[in-house]
Amino acid sequence: MRIGQPPAEALQIRDFETRHLSGDERVLLAEATQVLQDLGYTITESSGPAGVLAASKHRDATEAGQVVGAIVVGVLFGAANMRWDTDQVIRVTLTTWPSAGAGLIRASTASPDVAMRISFERLIRNNKGEVRFEPLRDPGLQQQFFEKLNQSLAAQEHRL
């Protein structure tokens, strides 16, 4: 049952997907909701008591290089072999957990109150209508999200 296996380097993935934040968990979730919406996501599930947000957004997946490569393959092996990605849906799972919690989530003994983890994956379709899923492991995605979240929290503090 390989599909059920945890991803390779699961602990490293958890580390770059997680930040420890100060503040009320509900407030942090509300701000995270705002930031995801700022980034163009549609919220598909939200639960304060469970500390969960899920969201998704559509993006064009066409890349010029991939199309050129597909054309070369088509010339060499026939048009039926030409494949390139056309569109994608990016899906987000965001969870929060009190930092005092036990087990895997407790990655820091520092003072912050809430651990927040955000994971990205995408559903990609090609020109043949074939669909595949892949996780997005670029830490830049988390970096971008948490920077915007910090800005949003700072702005909220300023307003108060």
């Binding site: 049952m1 599909i3 958890r14 599930e45 969960v52 036990a102």
Partner: protein
């Protein structure tokens, strides 16, 4: 604003995943309800159902699942891995000192979604990581059948009628 047909199709596919691919028939395990409950359930020495539910959510995310539905009131969460493997976890109290966790996984095979009944799958790929997350030992399922609800599955499938018939 016009939505491109291709994009709409992809969103519909994602929606189908989110809805649990309910249009696909569920191919239920041939194991007895008692066997299945034993494989799919564990008991934890805690009364904090919310903490256990959060632990289950954190474990699913750690294992690479994407959360698609969560209901703290019902104590359940549904998540999907790689758009195929779908896991529903329900958490409920047992007596005054314990909490039971039941997991049910479905995997698309052929025309339907097959219920996974491999004990090692549940033990190694969910309950052991959950036990680590909660820092609590996972113990055997409750002995009485009526203490464990049936796994959450889409309506109109071969599992529900048997259980409903037994209950009636």
């Amino acid at each position: 604003m016009k939505i491109p047909a291709a994009s709409l199709g992809l969103f519909l596919l994602l929606g189908a995943c989110a809805a649990g691919q309910a249009e696909r028939p569920v191919i239920a395990s041939t194991m007895s309800a008692v066997q299945l409950r034993s494989i799919q359930s564990r008991t934890f020495d805690t009364t904090d159902r919310d903490q256990v539910l959060r632990g289950a959510i954190a474990t699913l995310q750690h294992l690479g699942y994407a959360v698609i539905r969560v209901s703290p009131e019902a104590g359940s969460v549904t998540a999907v891995k790689k758009g195929r493997l779908r896991m529903t976890v329900s958490v409920y109290p047992r007596g005054t000192v314990q909490t039971v966790v039941r997991a049910n996984a479905l995997l698309p095979m052929g025309a339907g979604d097959t219920q996974i009944d491999d004990p090692l799958f549940y033990r190694n790929l969910f309950f052991e990581p959950l036990s680590q997350t909660l820092a609590l030992a996972a113990m055997a399922a409750p002995e009485r059948e009526d203490e464990a609800p049936m796994p959450a599955v889409p309506p109109d499938n071969p599992i529900r009628p048997a259980k409903v018939a037994a209950a009636q």
